[in-house]
Amino acid sequence: MFKKAQNILSFRSIDLANFSLFDLLLKVVAVFLILLPVLIFIILFINSLPAISKLGFSVFTTNNWDPVSDKFGVIAPLFVTIIVGVVSTVLGLMISTPIALFLSFYSRGKISSFFSTVIDALASIPSVVLGLWAIFYVAPHIGAIETVIKALFGFIPFLNGNPSPFGLLTTILILTLMLVPIQTVLIKELITLVPRNLLEAGFSLGTTKYEIVTNLILPFIGQGIVAVVFLSLARGMEETMATAMLIGNRPLFPDSIFSPTATLTSIIANEFSEAFSKTYLSVLFELGLILFALVFVTNVCAKLILRMLYRRFR
C-alpha cells in the first residue's frame, strides 16, 4: 500500500514536470545515438588525415609494410582481409545451407531443437575462446592437413607452399566455424519466407523433399542467399581476435594458402599499442577507416537486397 502510494508520488513528480521534459529527454537521447556512428567516422577520418596527407594514395600502390622505414602498403592486408572473408563465407555456406535445410525440413521435435541449441551455443562462443582452442587443437594439426593438400593439389599455384601452423588456412577454417551459425540462422529465416501454400502445392504433386528443395526453395531464396553472403562477408572481415591469434601476423602478400600473413584487423590489434611514430598511428587509423568503409559497403548491399525481398514477400 505504502509502496504503491510512493510509486504514484514519484510518477506524479515527473508528470508535474510534464511530459515535455521526458519527451525532450527521449529526443536528446535519440539524436545522441544517431550521432554515434557519425562520431566514429569523424574520429577515424581526423586521425587518418596525417597519414592521408603524408602518404596520399601511395598506401594503395606500395606493396610493402615496413613501419621502420615509413613504408605502409595496405594492398596485402586489404587483399588478405577480403580473401579470408570470401573463402570462409563460401566454405561456411557449404556447411550452413545443408544444416538450415535439415533443421527446417528433415527434422522435427526434439531433434530439431537439439541441433538449434547446438547452433546457438556455437554462435555464443566468444571469438577469443575459439582462438584459444584453435591455437592448441587446430594449429598443431594443420601442418599435416596442409601436407596432404599440397600432395594432392600442389599443382594448383596457390595451394603449393610451406605448411605452417599459423596462417591463412587456419584462420579461414576457424572463421568458417564462426560464420556457420550466423549463416544457418539467416538461411533458416529465409526459408520461412517461402509461402506455405507453394510448398503444399509442391508436395501435393507427389514430389520428394529433395525435389522441393532444388526446385522451389533454392530458386526462391537465391537472392536472399546473396544477402547472407554479404552479411557474413562483413562479419568475417571485421573479426579481430581469432584472426589476430591465428593468422601469423606477417604483413606480407601470402604466397600460398598456407602462409602466415595479416589482415587489417590483425595489424591494428597487434601494432596499435606499439605504434612509435605519429604517421604510424595515423596509418593504423586509416586501416580502421578502410575496414569501416569496406564493412559498411557490404552491409549496405546486404540490407538493400533484404529490403527488396521483404517488400516482395510480405
Binding site: L26, I34, P37, P126, W133, I135, F272, G288
Partner: protein, 272 residues
C-alpha cells in the same frame, strides 16, 4: 530412384549437422578437460603471478570484468531503453528511421574500430588507459542490439492495454510508465542479460582501452584487467602455466556466456 536421392540428401544434411555438433562437442570437451584442473580456490582469490611461482589466478580479471561490464551495462541500458522508447513513441518519423539506420550501422561497425575510437576520445584525453574507457567501448558494441531489441519488446505491449490506459485519460508519460514499461519489465531484463552475454566475451574493444593489468585494480579510472583480455594475453604467451590459466578462464567465461544465452534463447533473435 527419386526416393533414394531424397534419402541420400537427407542423410547428407544430417551428417553435416552432426559433424558441426561433434566439433562443438570437441571444443567443449577440450575446454573442460584443460580448464577444470586449474579451477580451484586459487583461481578466484589470487591475482596473476610471475611465471614459475606455479600459482596465480584470475581474480583481477574477474573483478575487472565485473566492474567494466557493470558500468557498460548501466550505460547501455539507460541509453537503449530511452532510444527504444523513442522508436516506439515516434514510429515512422524521419528521426526514428534515421535512428534505426544508424543503429544498424553501429551494429555493423568492426568492434576493433570502436576500440580505437574510444582510445582517441577517452584514453588520449585522460592520458592513460582505464577500465572506464573499456566500458564505453563495450557500450558502443552493445547499444545497437539493445536499442533494436527493446523497440521490438515495446511493440509487443498489447495495444488493447495501451488503448485502455489512454481511454482512462492517462497522459502519455503515465502510459509509458504504468503500462509499457511495466509490461516490458521481464523481457527487458532478458535482453539486458543477453547483451551482457554478448559483451562479456568481447575482447577487441578492450585491447586499447582497458588494456589489462596484472594486479587487482578497483578504480575504473585506472587500467584494468578483464576476463577475455586476460585469456588473450595468456593464450599467446609462451608459458604452459599461463596456458592452463587461459583454459580455466575460457571455461568460466563460456559457462557464463553460453548458459546465459541458451537460457534466454527465446529472446535471442530480437535486435538482429
Amino acid at each position: 530412384m527419386r526416393v533414394l536421392t531424397d534419402r541420400l540428401f537427407q542423410a547428407f544434411t544430417m551428417v553435416v549437422a552432426l559433424s558441426v555438433s561433434i566439433i562443438l562437442a570437441f571444443i567443449l570437451f577440450q575446454l573442460i578437460k584443460d580448464g577444470i584442473g586449474s579451477i580451484n580456490l586459487n583461481f578466484f582469490v589470487e591475482t596473476a603471478r610471475p611465471v614459475g611461482s606455479n600459482s596465480g589466478g584470475f581474480k583481477q580479471a574477474i573483478v575487472g570484468s565485473l566492474i567494466i561490464d557493470s558500468i557498460a551495462m548501466i550505460i547501455i541500458i539507460s541509453l537503449s531503453v530511452l532510444g527504444g522508447l523513442f522508436l516506439h513513441v515516434y514510429p515512422e518519423t524521419l528521426l526514428s528511421k534515421i535512428l534505426k539506420e544508424s543503429m544498424s550501422l553501429l551494429q555493423g561497425t568492426p568492434t576493433i574500430v570502436c576500440g580505437i575510437c574510444v582510445y582517441y576520445m577517452v584514453v588520449r584525453s585522460m592520458g592513460h588507459f582505464s577500465g572506464f574507457a573499456g566500458s564505453i567501448a563495450l557500450a558502443l558494441v552493445g547499444i545497437p542490439y539493445m536499442v533494436l531489441a527493446s523497440e521490438q519488446i515495446f511493440k509487443m505491449t498489447p495495444s488493447l492495454l495501451v488503448e485502455a490506459a489512454y481511454s482512462l485519460g492517462l497522459s502519455k508519460t503515465r502510459v509509458i510508465f504504468y503500462v509499457i514499461l511495466r509490461f516490458a519489465k521481464f523481457p527487458l531484463l532478458a535482453i539486458s542479460l543477453l547483451t551482457l552475454a554478448r559483451i562479456a566475451g568481447e575482447t577487441a574493444p578492450l585491447l586499447f582501452t582497458a588494456f589489462g593489468n596484472s594486479f587487482l585494480e578497483l578504480n575504473p579510472g585506472r587500467p584494468m584487467a578483464a576476463m577475455p583480455l586476460q585469456i588473450f594475453i595468456y593464450a599467446i604467451s609462451p608459458y604452459d602455466e599461463w596456458h592452463r590459466l587461459a583454459w580455466a578462464g575460457a571455461l568460466v567465461l563460456i559457462i557464463f556466456v553460453t548458459v546465459l544465452s541458451i537460457i534466454l534463447g527465446r529472446y535471442r533473435r530480437l535486435g538482429e
